[in-house]
């Protein structure tokens, strides 16, 4: 079974002083994968500035906007229509050969192949002494451990907006466990990696029809690589396995590789950016 989503992303940028020239890169387009298919993209900006498609360094499609006339305010919006195939996240789970799975993740070849997603990054570095916050029980499968980790983080961090920001490091989260999806995801990545499981940060949209946390902003979750299966999505903010309410945009090592908006603005003074997201199911 499949159904359609319509996703609208809007951003408004206000600048204290006139901007002569600016480049923006939006990493907000839903990717095409086994469970989702992009149908259409519609982009608008209030300045009618030149736009186009490109890609980021990890191959995800981006939208580029370049202005060359003076301005102090720009509104931007994009609407995506996509088809989502409904799936059962447990449907693809096999019977695990538990000891050999744990052996595999410790092998050199495995570590080399997954190096980017095993490496510690700025936002997934665990403060000294917290490497053992969550240690896998090797008598049960990696998949089960990751589900436990998912739940553990869901219970450990109290969802609260406005406490953390895009540059919050894990030390702060561990000392004061409050934050948003990004913080849940960074901690999940860090602790899964500490247990030798390649894990990546995913940004995307969440259809909130069922009262999930995620706000009217972009959402973040994690994907972990499980031997015998491949990449599986975990949403620690909602203690869920990723399902057909999750619309993936991009993945990377951490937020830094996935930030939805990057800009180079030739101007001085303060600026204010606000964005919002709306996801609608059209069955």
């Amino acid at each position: 079974m499949s159904f359609e989503y319509s996703v609208t992303y809007s951003a408004e940028n206000n600048y204290e002083n006139p901007v002569e020239n600016a480049y923006w890169q939006f990493l907000i387009i839903p990717e095409n994968n086994d469970t989702q298919e992009l149908i259409s993209v519609e982009i608008k900006n209030s300045l009618e500035a030149k736009g186009g498609f490109s890609q980021n360094g990890f191959g995800f499609q981006t939208i580029r906007i370049n202005t060359s006339e003076r301005f102090q305010k720009i509104n931007f919006s994009a609407t995506f229509k996509l088809k989502k195939i409904s799936f059962n996240p447990f449907g693809q789970i096999p019977i695990f050969d538990i000891p050999s799975n744990y052996e595999l993740v410790k092998s050199l070849n495995f570590k080399v192949d997954h190096e980017p997603y095993l490496r510690e990054t700025k936002y997934t570095a665990l403060p000294a002494g917290s490497e053992n916050l969550f240690v896998f029980d090797t008598s049960i499968s990696i998949f089960e451990n990751l589900q436990k980790l998912n739940k553990w983080i869901y219970l450990f961090i109290h969802f609260n907006t406005g406490v953390t920001h895009v540059n919050t490091l894990l030390e702060e989260i561990i000392n004061n466990p409050e934050g948003v999806c990004q913080d849940f995801t960074h901690l999940f990545c860090a602790l899964a990696k500490a247990n030798n499981i390649p894990t990546r940060y995913v940004s995307g949209y969440l259809h909130q029809g069922n009262g999930y946390f995620g706000d009217s902003q972009m959402h973040a979750w994690a994907e972990a690589y499980i031997p015998q299966v491949g990449w599986i999505g975990f949403d620690p903010t909602n203690n869920l396995l990723v399902n057909d309410n999750h619309i993936k945009v991009a993945h990377g090592k951490d937020y830094n590789d996935c930030s939805p908006l990057k800009g180079v603005v030739y101007s001085q003074g303060a600026n204010k950016t606000s964005h919002s997201v709306e996801v609608q199911a059209e069955q």
Binding site: Q55, G57, R64, P116, V264
Partner: protein, 488 residues
């Protein structure tokens, strides 16, 4: 009137037998290749030499060839000290250097291809995974990317020394943005102006063909589908210490010198702004570091780069030389694996020796280093320009303690090597108004293109001007000499 007494130029030269003098044997006789030179200089007095040396120096002033030295407080504009007494390398010795430099460049290129593709050398246990995964210069964005022509290190600057055992050793392979080649050419110009009568007696290889070969190499790695590529040199700007070189190379190649703001990207193609409208750019010799080339992909606060450049690169629409991510192999910890890297990819024995290196990241070697600092050179793995180097036998006890603490704090950041006794070359010293022995090294320049390679027959002989000093980098107050490679 009493005639002024003129001292012959080497009358007060002290030849320390403990050092390897490139010009004089221990018995005081000159080595073969220098005999003619000394005969020719023999007619001159030290006063004549000073006069000629000053004339040569003024040629640098006139050409505005300066560089900047950074320290904590201020930057200073300086003239690179030049010594008119040339270094001569005969054809047989040069052949070894040249073959060795090409061998290293080719091996490094294969290494880079491998670690950004199949990573076989790591899976085979030759190079530890940790050296890659802990390197800030390993760019994940480059994994699976095929650089045009398959080349990463188009330009390599290999630093070579002649040890007191008479053999050549490589100290470093510089493959980020090695500089110094413009000094090689300017040194030659200055020397020829001052001493054409002497230069003329030797059959020396030209160095002015560097720029045309560089252009050839750059054109050989043009993107697919481009017929005649438009090449440019991108510079961080006039405040960069090597700005003179950037402008020199652009001029000598007959291509545009640009800054980031002169370029823009549209639909993943790169264009140069000109008064006649945009012109597409196909190959960029970039003298801007990886982290600054594209604020949309790397450091967002960089104003030196071009927004969107990296996407244009990975789409294959523009070539960057050297390729992004090349710096991972420029790491001094990778250097220690060079003999193994050469063997692995080329199945050859290294032509040039490596200096034995201790990795502070390995516990037993760390222990050795901490206990033997007084007889070692300690270097940070990721700094260039001679910054952060400690030479053990020059340190006080208190200074050794500081270095030990520093290493213990961050062992991965340091390697240590035995203190190498660099060969010495007679160099005119202003303070004593005479020639004295000074340590020298040699930076060679190797170019690698699509089915093309080139080694500049010559190089930058850098002289440590302070007596006994072993650090020759210009940023540490080093000077330079013209280097003659003789023809067969």
């Amino acid at each position: 009137m009493k005639p002024e007494v003129k001292k012959p130029i080497f009358s007060s030269y002290i030849n320390n037998p403990a050092l390897f003098d490139e010009v004089f044997n221990n018995d005081g006789a000159a080595k073969n290749v220098y005999q003619k030179l000394l005969d020719l200089y023999g007619d001159h007095s030290i006063q004549d030499y000073v006069q000629l040396n000053n004339k040569a120096k003024s040629s640098f002033f006139n050409q505005g060839i300066t560089f900047q030295v950074y320290d904590n407080k201020e930057t200073q504009e300086k003239i690179f000290p030049f010594d008119l007494f040339p270094r001569i390398i005969d054809e047989d010795e040069w052949e070894i250097i040249e073959r060795g430099a090409v061998q290293r460049s080719r091996a490094l290129n294969l290494f880079l291809w491998d670690i950004y593709h199949d990573k076989k050398i790591i899976k085979d246990g030759i190079v530890p995974l940790d050296l890659i995964s802990s390197s800030a210069n390993y760019l994940h964005q480059m994994i699976g990317v095929d650089p045009p022509g398959g080349i990463y290190n188009h330009i390599s600057g290999t630093d070579i020394i002649k040890h007191s055992d008479g053999n050549y050793y490589v100290l470093e392979d510089n493959i980020r943005c090695p500089s110094g080649v413009s000094y090689v050419i300017c040194n030659r110009t200055a020397l020829k102006r001052a001493l054409f009568g002497v230069f003329n007696h030797y059959k020396t290889h030209s160095v002015t063909n560097y720029a045309e070969n560089l252009l050839d190499i750059l054109e050989s790695v043009k993107p697919k589908g481009v017929d005649v590529p438009n090449c440019v040199v991108i510079t961080p700007g006039m405040y960069n210490s090597a700005f003179y070189e950037h402008s020199y190379l652009a001029k000598a190649m007959g291509v545009e010198l640009v800054e980031g703001r002169d370029l823009f990207v549209e639909n993943d193609f790169v264009y140069m702004k000109t008064i006649r409208g945009p012109i597409k750019v196909d190959v960029i010799y970039r003298r801007v570091d990886d982290q600054y080339i594209d604020p949309l992909e790397f450091r967002a606060d960089s104003s030196l780069g071009v927004p969107g450049l990296f996407a244009a690169y990975i789409k294959g629409n523009v070539c960057l030389a050297n390729a992004p991510g090349t710096g991972v192999a420029d790491d001094k910890a990778i250097y220690t694996y060079m003999p193994k890297i050469i063997k692995y990819y080329l199945d050859e024995t290294p032509i040039l020796n490596n200096v034995h290196t201790y990795h502070c990241s390995r516990p037993n070697e760390l222990k050795y280093v901490l206990e033997h600092i007084h007889e070692l050179v300690v270097k940070p793995v990721d700094e260039a320009g001679g910054y952060g180097i400690s030479i053990g036998n020059r340190l006080s006890k208190a200074e050794i303690k500081v270095v030990q603490e520093e290493i213990k704090q961050n062992p991965r950041k340091y390697i240590a090597q035995p203190i190498m006794s660099l060969s010495v070359h007679p160099t005119y010293i202003d303070d004593s108004e005479s020639f004295e022995q000074r340590h020298v090294d040699l930076r060679t320049f190797t170019l690698l293109g699509n089915k093309k390679e080139f080694v500049l027959k010559g190089g930058l002989s850098r002289v440590a001007l302070k007596k006994g000093n072993l650090i020759v980098n210009s940023s540490q107050g080093g000077g330079s000499k013209d280097t003659w490679v003789l023809k067969k």
